[in-house]
């Protein structure tokens, strides 16, 4: 048995959600799931591969440096996973839009019923995952030969790059599937932590009255090292873009403290 992790990375660093996924893999490994290999796929991704090798607990890093994997196109990356997966019992990915896009595609090709967004590891084949937007927790057992799993980042302790010295191996896969191309992205650049991985979220609701007023929240957020979130009502009113939504379906933020103080935001879990 062994674990393969699909890493999400940017600018030479692993994403916080990937570090949490390594945390989940370490929990699995302790329960007898074997060694941990991290797959870093992308173009010019050697730096991220180097960082992955320093994370304690990681035994091996596989670097697939190919322009076809550069933009994380599911058709291409899933093909790479399928090519590598037969050597592993578990394939893990962070439950971010990156992992959620790619993982089920690979799972279907491996004829495996994926287990989505696990929040706890019971043993090497039993996992806890939220259903009904977190209103219930299901414990499920997966008997498939290759278990494909996405990991909810906020539920696991993040691993940290340290003094590990995993071997780095270069791998290649089928490359470009010729089905899709990346045509552009509009990313909102922010120095603040991402909502899916933040320890503290300052969230604003309709009570903020305008997008300009969110600047006040951003100031507090910067002092606290927090992420800025918003309710659906505030997003629908056009105050802030959609990626601010903290209670978005399938978006899993579990901050230690959410400020609803003076900026009314709905605190119930939205299922849609």
């Amino acid at each position: 048995m062994a674990i393969l992790i699909l890493a999400e990375h940017a600018d030479g660093h692993l994403s916080p959600a990937t570090l949490a996924t390594i945390g989940a893999a370490r929990a699995l490994s302790e329960k007898g799931a074997g060694d941990i290999a991290v797959l870093v796929a992308g173009s010019d991704c050697a730096a991220a591969g180097g960082e992955a090798a320093t994370v304690p607990g990681v035994n091996k890093v596989l670097v697939a440096d190919d322009a076809a994997y550069g933009n994380g196109l599911a058709e291409n990356v899933a093909g790479l996973i399928v090519a590598l997966a037969p050597g592993y019992s578990h394939v893990l990915a962070p439950a971010t839009t990156y992992g959620k896009n790619i993982c089920p595609r690979a799972a279907a090709l491996l004829d495996s019923q994926q287990v989505s967004e696990i929040t706890d590891v019971v043993d090497s084949e039993t996992f806890v995952r939220p259903i009904y937007a977190g209103n219930a927790l299901a414990t499920v057992r997966c008997k498939d030969a290759i278990k494909v799993i996405t990991v909810r980042a906020t539920a696991f302790e993040k691993a940290a790059p340290g003094d590990g010295g995993a071997a780095i191996e270069s791998v290649s896969g089928p490359g470009d599937a010729g089905l899709s191309t990346h045509a552009g992205a509009e990313l909102s650049h922010s120095e603040r932590p991402e909502l899916t991985a933040a320890r503290v979220i300052i969230s604003g609701g309709r009570g903020m009255q305008s997008g300009d007023n969110f600047k006040q929240l951003e100031e507090i957020a910067d002092i606290l090292g927090a992420a800025v979130g918003a309710s659906r009502a505030a997003v629908d009113a056009g105050f802030v873009p959609n990626d601010f939504r903290s209670a978005r379906p399938a978006r899993s933020s579990r901050p230690s403290f959410t400020s609803l103080w003076a900026f009314p935001a709905r605190s119930s879990i939205s299922r849609a």
Binding site: A78, K100, I102, A108, L109, Y132, D144, N242, F257
Partner: protein
């Protein structure tokens, strides 16, 4: 181009779900059911493609209990042309649904399959991606905009940091996010008309798919109770709470 839309019958989004005491699942008896909201968006998009002349026919598919026919009927009332019901008593997992849909899509010669990005009951977020894989088609997940021109589709996707646009080779599978459109309400005349639209029944055996669940659900439990929020009187108290209780300062 034929457009296939998959829909799922789930507990209504406005109903507060209750976990059964014996841990076997959530209570579904006498609970209001409805079409999964993301599926509604997929149906709406298909109907709009038909109205724009891009789609020649819109076909709605659902795998589920007999009552899933009501959900198909809802989609027909929104403007879809005909339905296909695949009877299944228990839960059908995403991989099995994807296999069923693959066979239906191939049989019907569909050029586009639209699905909701996830069902609000099991929150799997898998079926569309799995279907695209099994068909060997391209995929556009979490779509907030779809533009189809001839042999390619341009799909804008909602991703964690913002928006991404991908160019997909047709045929393709697209899963919908909330911002794609606002589903219409079915008008009374259309509800009446929908009653006359055909719904075919095809069994999983006829489609050659084994729908036996792969995952064994051992237990379903209530999540730990979340401590409620508290109002503070003044800034000093807030600072105190942030410092000593939440530990964020």
């Amino acid at each position: 181009m034929k457009v296939l839309v998959a829909v799922k019958r789930v507990i209504d989004a406005n109903v507060k779900v209750r976990v059964r005491q014996d841990g076997s699942g959530v209570e579904t008896a006498n609970v209001k059911m409805a079409m999964n909201p993301f599926c509604e968006i997929a149906v709406e998009e298909a109907v709009r493609l038909k109205e724009a002349g891009t789609a020649s026919e819109t076909i709605v598919v659902s795998a589920g209990p007999q009552a899933a026919q009501e959900t198909i009927r809802t989609a027909l009332a929104m403007g879809a042309d005909r339905g296909i019901h695949i009877p299944a008593d228990g839960p059908v997992e995403p991989l099995a649904v994807a296999k069923l849909l693959r066979t239906v899509a191939e049989k019907e010669g569909a050029g586009l399959v639209l699905l909701g990005k996830q069902a609000i009951d099991d929150d799997c977020n898998q079926t569309g991606q799995m279907l695209a894989a099994l068909l060997g088609w391209s995929q556009g997940t979490f779509a907030s905009k779809i533009e189809i021109s001839g042999e390619s589709a341009r799909v804008t996707r909602e991703i964690d940091g913002g928006l991404e646009t991908v160019e997909l080779k047709m045929p393709c599978v697209v899963t919908t996010d909330l911002r794609l459109n606002e589903p219409r309400y079915a008008s009374l005349p259309n509800i009446m008309k929908a009653k006359k639209k055909p719904i075919d029944t095809i069994t999983a055996e006829e489609l050659g798919v084994d729908v036996t669940p792969r995952l064994e659900v051992l237990n379903v439990a209530e999540p730990p109770v979340r401590g409620g929020g508290a109002k503070v009187e003044n800034a000093a108290e807030l600072v105190d709470k942030l410092k000593n209780q939440a530990g964020v300062i």
